[in-house]
Amino acid sequence: MSTDLNSGKTIKPIRPLLKIEEGDGFYSLLFSGDWTIRHPKGDRLSEFDSFAGQLSDKNTFRFQLSDDFTWDTSFLLFIQNIEQKISTHGAGVDFSSLPEGLANLLEKNKSNESLEHGRVEALSGAEDSVFEQILLNFLRVAEFWGKWMIFLWGLIRGKSFARGRDFLVACRDCGASALPIVTLISYLTGLTMAFVGSVQLEKFNATIYTADLVCLAMVREMGPLMVAIVMAGRTGASFAAEIGSMKLNEEVDSLRTLGIPAIDFLVLPRTLALFLMTPLLTLYADIVGIMGGLTVGTQVMGFSALHYFEQTQSALLSMWEIYSGLWKSLAFGLIVGLVGCYKGINSGNSSISLGKSVTSSVVVSITLIVIADALFELAYSYLGLR
């Protein structure tokens, strides 16, 4: 008697086929076709399962492989699965006719031990509790901030490893190179505010006050904020990525073994460059933003440029309006520089943690910028400076 598990189907040599033939006191499993990962074997397994379910006598199973039979490790697992099913029914399996390599691999897979439990635990490391993690993070921030202050004091006294060259390169990268994007963003901001403002002010027949609106909003708020956000996304992220990958590549370690502290050599020039460049960029953004407003004022609303400028000038009651925004941007520059470098220095030893550091440097910077902005406005209004 022979049981064809594939009855009713067209036989192609490439398909994995399993025929079971009953001999004298044994079953022959005839494998043919392509028993590799190209074909799923779930059907064959369930078919064999239903066949094995009808087994009543305890027989031995033998393997027969046809000439066109090909196999890979997926066949190995198939054999392992059917052996398990056979042995649950109390029958035996004779592996002798399998290819030698396959039989060896089957044997090895059974004897492969997993790593000792303690070893895996030691490698995965002890998980800190949430409280410990928060404390650790807090201590890291405090350590970074403290060291930064100490090295800054060292720089002021002329004892520092920071190089003027690095400072200038950082100034160029975060200052001059940022001009195109800052120009575009602040011009469009000024333009948009002028449009929004003019529609509202038209109701009161006071469209000329668009100049006041654009000017005050730019110098007080939008200029510093827009520049800070561009800096966070552009420069802060690049600080985090640069220092983080230096850490990944043992470059920070090689500085340290020379006795050059990374915070002194890498962080100080970058943070100071950003500290200096952000207010300058903000001043530039203020001017470009007002130009954006001017474009709308002259081209859309039909004022003369002189009229618009006079109105702008009258809106600026004192230079404090501009200074107040620049003070903010000093703080924003410091925030972006410190957060970017902190995230780089504290990034872990894998490319995943580097990516996370860069992302979180942008997120944390922007959050802190918005919080700082609110605090500044609160302080200004309580101190009667608005």
């Binding site: 490391g125 230096m246 370690d253 073994t257 006795g259």
Partner: protein
């Protein structure tokens, strides 16, 4: 720096215990390195060889124990190592760890610019000499990303030699190198040892390279987390009472 007494060991490590957080990597490690010797730190993967090196070059504070260089303690109980001592130690990291924003000449010059009192032309001359010493003359203006693996290691050695240190630490110098380049690197180490009288601490598990360069060796064990054996590699291979050590040298699996 005063001339060291040749009979005194250059480095003495006593009762060192190293850990990352709560997991102990090594404990009760005691050994010394003599002047002009090359000490090989051997052992299977994950036994703490590189961790030991990190602690000896000031990157990992030991939990307890002391490392002394020419009689003065590297870790003086405080958080930071003694920077003055560290400047007498040169380190070659596994990947070379050259500063990627600087070219080869700037990499070698930076330690000199920072710590020597030399003028700019003198610094350049000295840096060019060190680059020539490791066989990279002509590559001064290349950036690390333009160098091959073997060249990066050589460049790393040139930078480690910049301040004329008395001791050089090598972390797996032959890892990732083809046999010929690995042999060339061994020759370079022997050259430097002979001509400059440098002391070497080399972390390695390349048996051939160990036999070529090492005068002395310590064998670390992952299970006991301590030194299993020490002595000349030849002696260890032939006469070590410990089967793990003999197996290591014979590449054998038997217990």
């Amino acid at each position: 720096m005063s001339a060291p007494d040749p009979s005194e060991p250059v480095i003495e490590v006593s009762d060192l215990c190293l850990s990352y957080g709560s997991s102990t990597i090594l404990k009760n490690v005691t050994f010394s390195v003599e002047q002009g010797q090359c000490l090989a730190v051997m052992g299977g993967s994950g036994c703490g060889k590189s961790t030991l090196l990190r602690s000896m070059v000031g990157l990992l504070r030991p939990r307890s124990g002391q490392i002394t260089v020419h009689g003065s303690a590297l870790w003086d109980g405080c958080h930071e190592p003694d920077w003055g001592i560290l400047r007498n130690l040169g380190v070659l990291f596994q990947s070379g760890a050259l500063w990627s924003s600087m070219n080869l000449l700037e990499n070698v010059s930076l330690p000199l610019e920072t710590f020597s009192g030399l003028s700019a032309p003198e610094i350049k001359e000295l840096a060019m000499y060190k680059i020539g010493l490791v066989g990279l003359r002509g590559a001064e203006s290349l950036y690390p990303s333009q160098l091959s693996g073997g060249m990066k290691k050589r460049a790393g050695i040139a930078r480690a030699l910049a301040l004329d240190p008395k001791v050089l630490f090598f972390d797996e110098p032959s890892a990732g190198l083809d046999p010929v380049n690995s042999r060339k690197l061994d020759e370079l180490i022997l050259d430097l040892k002979q001509n400059l009288g440098l002391t070497f601490v080399v972390v390695s598990h390349e048996i051939e390279s160990i036999f070529a360069i090492a005068d002395n060796g310590i064998f670390l064990d992952a299970n006991s987390r301590s030194i299993l054996a020490n002595g000349h590699p030849q002696t260890l291979r032939e006469n070590s009472p410990v089967s793990e050590v003999r197996n290591f040298f014979a590449r054998s699996l038997t217990d």
